[in-house]
């Protein structure tokens, strides 16, 4: 009989290997899936792991996908560490793109870099404001932040629809629900001429560094850690539980809003109802696979982007269905969670003869 026993101490080597193991399991299951679908497993794997990084343009596309995932993932890992379950990052993303559009619509051809800076700040502000609704309702009203933040996503979607159908509709756009195409002075500066990659990726990496400093080196970060691990200990030490709620929510809202601003003024160049692409939800996986740590989240955002782009390529080049990306992401998450539990528990084989009053 197999029994699971908690370990005295978490196994360090397993803790390190767990994400790699999870990835390996996912890849193995994926190969199985490809074979079942009658496709060449090797070219499928190539779509996912080689094509997205094989040349400069592919890397540029990867950076465009990874930037919002990284930004939002950083914020979410801060939240989840503090036991604040912010599921509504998508809504904060949308509000960020809306606020950024508000600034972008005021651009003139002569506007300088100040406009882009204002645009990005506005985006962060919008996201933070939206997150603060969740924060205040949890703080004052005790309402579950999971449900409130999620409902606010639906509300944000409708707000977006209202704006592009009404007040912000392009008057020369034949009444299609979209804003004008932003002037070039309101677009995010490109990294290299001719490439789609923009400075957003630099902002994202800077944010990752800042988060790492905050989490590992600052006192405030330490307070959040404790609050997340043991609210009782935090209270005893006098750490404000209120700030342990507000800080992560505001920061993750700001980061998600910044991602929204980068998206609408970057690859999109106008506000439509198609700007939100589900990054707010994908970033949940990114945060977990990244172990809620900035460096890990940086790597997992790259990995997730490879999954996304690989899924797209497999569809167009190999005829694989698009939903395979969702399956892989889910599998990865589940494998990670399963592997992780073996860090805390170990398998033991007990002879079935021993039937003591084992606490079940």
């Amino acid at each position: 009989m197999i029994k699971l026993e908690p370990r005295a101490e978490p196994a360090r080597w397993l803790a390190l290997a767990s994400p790699v193991l999870a990835l390996a399991i996912t890849v193995a299951l994926g190969v199985l899936l490809f074979l079942l679908l009658g496709k060449d497993a090797l070219s499928c794997l190539q779509m996912f792991f080689v094509e997205p990084i094989k040349n400069a343009r592919a890397l540029a596309e990867l950076s465009i996908k990874a930037t919002p995932l990284l930004l939002i993932g950083l914020g979410l890992s801060l939240c989840f560490r503090s036991n604040v379950w912010n599921i509504g990052a998508e809504g904060q993303f949308i509000l960020g793109s809306i606020f950024a559009t508000g600034v972008a619509l005021r651009a003139t051809p002569e506007s300088g870099t100040g406009l882009v800076v204002a645009l990005l700040l506005a985006g962060a502000l919008g996201g933070a404001l939206w997150a603060s609704i969740t924060a205040v309702l949890r703080d004052r009203g005790n309402a579950s932040e999971i449900l409130v933040s999620l409902m606010l996503v639906y509300v944000a979607e409708q707000l977006l629809a209202y704006l592009v159908n009404g007040p912000w509709k392009d008057p020369n756009g034949y009444n299609f629900p979209q804003t004008i195409t932003f002037l070039s002075s309101a677009r995010i500066p490109r990294l290299i001429e001719g490439s789609r990659a923009n400075i957003g990726v630099l902002l994202a990496l800077l944010s990752a560094a800042a988060c790492a400093l905050f989490m590992h080196k600052s006192y405030a970060g330490y307070r959040l850690d404790v609050a997340g691990l043991s609210p009782a200990a935090a209270r005893y030490a006098g750490f404000s539980s209120r700030s342990a709620l507000w800080l992560p929510l505001l920061v993750s809202g700001a980061l998600a809003g910044l991602a929204g601003a980068l998206e609408v003024a970057g690859p999109d160049g106008q506000l439509t109802t198609h700007v939100p692409l589900g990054y707010g939800f994908a970033a949940i996986i990114v945060a977990f696979v990244g172990r809620l740590d900035p460096l890990g989240v940086t790597l997992s955002s790259v990995l997730m982007s490879m999954f996304f782009i690989g899924g797209e390529l497999s569809q167009s080049r190999l005829g694989l269905p698009k939903s395979i990306t969702g399956v892989f992401q889910g599998l990865l998450l589940f494998s990670l969670l399963t592997c992780d539990t073996f860090v805390k528990n170990k398998l033991r084989f007990v002879s079935s003869g021993s039937r003591q009053a084992v606490a079940k």
Binding site: P10, A15, A17, V20, L23, L42, S43, L45, Q46, F49, V50, K54, N55, A56, R57, A60, E61, I64, R81, S82, N83, Q158, Y162, N165, G166, P167, N175, F176, P177, I192, E193, G194, S195, L229, E263, P267, D268, G269, Q270, T272, H274, V275, L277, F288, R291, L292, D293, L295, G296, L299, V302, L303, I309, Q315, S316, R317, K322, L337, D340, K344
Partner: protein
Amino acid sequence: MPRLLDRPLNPRSSASLLALAVFSFAACDKKPSGNSAPVSSAAAPAAQPAEVKAAPGPLKIAFAYVGPVGDAGWTFAHDKARKEAEAEFAGKVKTSFVENVPEAADAERVIRDMVDQGNTLIFGTTFGYMEPMLKVASDHPNVHFEHATGYKTAPNLRTYDSRTYEGAYLAGVVAGAMTKSKTLGVVGSIPIPEVIRNIDSFTLGAQSVTPDVKTKVVWVGKWFDPPKEGEAAQALLDQGADVLMQNTDSSAVLQTAEKAGKFAFGWDSNMVKFGPNAHLASAVINWTPYYKNAIQQALDGSWKTGQTWWGVKDGAIDLVAISDKVPAATKAKIEEIKKGLKDGSFTIWKGSIKDQAGKEVVKDGEKADDKLLLGINFYVKGVEGKLPSSK
């Protein structure tokens, strides 16, 4: 407890392990899968057009779809036409498609990849691909781009569309004849001009038979959301509508009508099997004539930019499978109108047409021009409700 572990693991080690795993896969670089055209390096200053020399061989054509080919609606109609066109030019063309391509940012990547794969004629089948296609088109002047339902063109990008409002008008004529409560219902998707035009044309058609008919509209906000479409249809039925029309892409509206014993129409494709008792007729879009035409032009080099808007006359839209419950007189009227549309003697949008507020938008005896129709943003008299976000 929020954490997956009790102690944060050393991020550096896990990072290096993860990176190792990822890049070990990258290291096994197999030969590129049939990639022909050299990709312009991202570092090039001005966009270097990749010289896509059509290798002697079949013309490669790619289609970008916004939905799944199995939606029995919009995308299904495009894919059906693609298959028929390919059969017509068997051996001379090779078509491929990508479905579920989201509109806006991601579309650009997919379309660029299509160009990379050697496709020289690319169809984008939804409005939201307009800006991405324009960007890619400006980088690849030797590739032909066709954009459905858009309004911006370029030397190598042209637009095409189907006069779906003619199908809506014909359906309206049938609805006007069949309604007992004199209340019609339309389940709308997104308030773009095309949909508003269809609602208006549907109402005009019904009013040509029963002048005091009313149309109620409920908006779902999406093209394809069966449960919501069903609820919207139910709400319309609850409010007294007994004939339903839709501008959404699933058969949920028809099914809801079937459950309630009322009438409805099929949209985009023949939906009779989804509601045999409720089905009055289906407004079916047929892209085959246009696709055959476009491919022929690409093959013989006569492809030119422009804007095409085909209707009943060119076989792009039709009202089919008219039920036997519809009286013979109405069926005859439908045939007459179709004939009139084909030889130009019948115009749907002929004055005097008033909007909801009573203002005359098309003067008596005049015909509305395409510009008015393309940008339409008003309900005609007889349609109840407010246009979303109108002042």
